[in-house]
């Protein structure tokens, strides 16, 4: 057993939590905080003086640690020069779109009996995504809708799931035989709820920005989003849809931009905003019971480490 080395005695202080009287305890705690803050400011001042005194010879400022900085290196990060991955991506289910052979045509629907915000959300999504059609679900089975969609040349099926009149889930299915992604939707703001918003989005095809999809799984999801929009954006419309991935959450924003001069841009937010989190990616069209999953979120295994991300 280890003994504390003799000679070190700690100064007898009251622990603030031992005082039973609430007011006095609160006062002691505030005093403690002020003491600590004072010491911190003194330390800061001292450091700043030292830095100014050294002038050019000062050591460079330390970069603060953030979770993105400390991200565990993921071995599935795509190397742009890798031939095998390039071939794999070039011949996967999206190759028809990226080679210019098909135009996206999107079918948006909901779960049975949509109510409240879900209906408005669907309509707004249909204005944002060109060539999108909203259809009422009427209790039809998805597995029966899918062959009919394929027959009518649809390339995407979006199903928005609801919980208590707000959207909370999104199933994005690439149609001919493509992967199906299931997302959790949160933080939905409809067009009315946005502050300082512009007018309604026009019919022009927007540009698409995909940020931060670095791993192999991220690449697949990025391509999934990119194939929703037509390949040639119409710059006349000055609209841009952004899918920004940070810490495995995908933030969707829709803006209109205008270049005031060469360096300054003004943006106006139009359209809905929402965040997505990927729950599963299934190979093949929607078949949650018998399909094979390429990636499934297993919370207890994957979310155990705060610095490890999958997308």
């Amino acid at each position: 057993p280890k003994h504390t080395p003799p000679g070190t005695t700690f100064p007898p202080t009251f622990s603030v939590s031992e005082i039973k009287n609430k007011q006095r305890r609160h006062q002691m705690f505030m005093k403690l905080k002020q003491e600590k803050r004072k010491q911190k400011m003194q330390l800061k001042k001292k450091r700043r003086k030292e830095r100014e005194a050294l002038g050019d010879k000062a050591p460079p400022k330390e970069v603060p640690k953030t979770i993105e900085n400390q991200r565990v290196f993921d071995e599935t990060t795509v190397d742009p020069e890798d031939e095998e991955i390039a071939f794999d991506e070039g011949t996967d289910e999206f190759s028809a779109y990226f080679n210019g052979l098909t135009n996206p045509k999107v079918l948006i629907t909901t779960s049975d009996r949509p109510r409240g915000r879900v209906v408005k959300f669907c309509e707004q999504l249909a204005t944002v995504i060109p060539n999108a059609h909203v259809y009422y679900r009427r209790g039809l089975a998805l597995k029966r809708i899918i062959p009919q969609c394929i027959a009518r040349d649809f390339t995407y099926l979006i199903v928005i799931n609801q919980d208590r009149q707000t959207p909370n889930g999104l199933v994005l299915c690439h149609l001919p035989d493509g992967p199906t992604a299931h997302f959790k939707v949160s933080s939905v703001r409809l067009q009315k709820e946005l502050k300082r918003r512009g007018k309604a989005p026009t019919e022009h095809s927007p540009e698409v920005i995909l940020n931060n999809f670095s791993t192999r799984l991220g690449h697949t999801i990025g391509r999934l989003f990119a194939a929703l929009f037509p390949q040639n954006p119409q710059f006349v419309g000055r609209q841009v849809a952004t899918f920004h991935n940070q810490r495995d959450f995908i933030f969707f924003r829709f803006h209109r931009y205008i270049f005031k001069n060469e360096k300054k841009v003004g943006i106006q937010e139009l359209g809905p905003r929402f965040t997505l989190k990927l729950r599963s990616l299934q190979k093949g069209t929607f078949d949650s019971k018998y399909g094979e999953f390429e990636w499934v979120l297993k919370r207890h295994e994957m979310d155990a480490c705060r610095r490890k991300f999958q997308l």
């Binding site: 071995e75 599935t76 890798d82 031939e83 095998e84 991955i85 071939f87 794999d88 011949t91 192999r216 190979k283 019971k289 018998y290 399909g291 094979e292 999953f293 390429e294 990636w295 499934v296 297993k298 295994e301 994957m302 999958q310």
Partner: protein
């Protein structure tokens, strides 16, 4: 190329047509491809050893050919056309005689065929029904073959009598509503030291059949999870079985009572193939998440994880020791013998060079071990 292929102890076939060899002791993965241009037509669907000494690999490819790969030389040596791609992909591949000249193939549409080296027509053909998902050859009797598929129960065939199966399994009894239970055999394995056969189904059940008993229904039924079980493998002990399902859950089930012993964690995508090592308590798994993972069967911990950039279809383990530590003791013995023999055998320098290399590796390992002992 030959050097690299001789190091590999795990072989995998991928969807892009690349044969991947992994050497765990050197922690490296090598790609072997027979064409300069990769193409999805060359997707490898079935893998098996061409001969008992494990010097040749047979690959069953989507376009209907079977290619031979030599592990000694590291190149693809032969191509044989065994069927049309319209009939479906290979669902089973095996070798009948020892040298790899007689092949046994099975396709999705149910035709099991025996191919001889000289002719391009099959010698024997068995029709095993439609939608055959898996065909396996019994390790004990090379003439016995088991097939199973979707709505196509387990059938055991003898290749000398191709008209009628030796054993046809009966479907389970109707459930409590008197409805017929659906049936989907995904993977089959023969239990060593007995006649029993284990199958796993797409309805998350594991069945054990005993052809020697008069009962045609499964002797043991066990359930695991809620998703279709796609792969199955038997460790050498024979009382347990490892299964994997489409969600990436892998479990070790006990065959005596049908209970789950434990799960192996770490997989994030559907399991496509599993294989247990012949002597060590290890299981290798590969699947749609593009990783090869090796778990230990005793404590179910993940030992190795290798990222291989394409989706993997099948895995094959060589029966030699997987890790370098297994080679340590044998290396030392070789070193002692070689020190005596080296002085005398000075003429055959070339042969001794290979042994010298191994001796050098053995020496380095000895030095490392001595250093470690020194610091301890």
């Amino acid at each position: 190329m030959g050097e690299q292929s001789r190091l590999c102890s795990v072989w995998l076939g991928s969807e892009t047509g690349i044969l991947k060899g992994v050497s765990l002791s050197h922690k490296q993965a090598f790609n072997f491809s027979n064409t300069r241009q990769l193409s999805r037509d060359q997707e490898i669907r079935a893998l098996c050893w061409g001969d008992p000494t494990e010097t040749e690999l047979l690959l069953g490819i989507v376009d209907g050919t079977v290619r031979t790969f030599s592990t000694e030389k590291g190149i693809f040596t032969e191509v044989r056309r065994c069927g049309d791609p319209e009939e479906g992909c290979f669902s089973g591949l095996a070798v009948l005689s020892g040298s790899g000249s007689t092949l046994l193939t099975c396709v999705d549409s149910g035709k099991v065929r025996v191919w001889r080296e000289d002719s391009s027509e099959p010698v024997t053909q068995i029709d095993a029904g439609k939608n055959v998902c898996k065909m396996r050859q019994s390790p004990v009797q090379p003439n016995r073959v088991a097939t199973g598929g979707k709505e196509n129960g387990l059938k055991m065939w003898d290749l000398e009598r191709p008209e009628k199966p030796v054993f046809t399994a009966k479907n389970l009894r109707d459930d409590y509503l008197d409805l017929r239970r659906p049936h989907w055999v995904r993977d089959i394995a023969f239990i060593p030291d007995s006649e029993k056969v284990v199958t796993c189904t797409g309805f998350h059940q594991v069945h054990v059949f005993d052809p020697s008993s008069p009962q045609r229904r499964p002797v043991l039924e066990a359930e695991y999870g809620e998703y279709p079980l796609t792969a199955l493998s038997l460790p050498s002990s024979g009382t347990s079985v490892v299964v994997g399902n489409t969600q990436g859950q892998m479990a070790l089930l006990d065959l005596r009572k049908g209970l789950v012993r434990g799960c192996m964690k770490g997989l994030s995508g559907g399991v496509r193939a599993l294989q247990c090592h012949a002597s060590q308590p290890l299981v290798a798994s590969c699947g749609l998440d593009r990783f090869l993972r090796i778990h230990s069967l005793e404590d179910r911990k993940l030992l190795h994880k290798v990222y291989l950039k394409s989706r993997l279809n099948c895995v094959l383990l060589s029966s030699r020791e997987l890790q370098g530590e297994g080679e340590g003791p044998t290396g030392e013995e070789e070193v002692k013998e070689e020190e005596d023999a080296e002085d005398e055998v000075w003429d055959s320098m070339e042969r001794v060079e290979e042994k010298v290399k191994r001796k050098a590796i053995g020496d380095e390992e000895e030095k490392e071990k001595k250093k470690k002992k020194g610091t301890d």
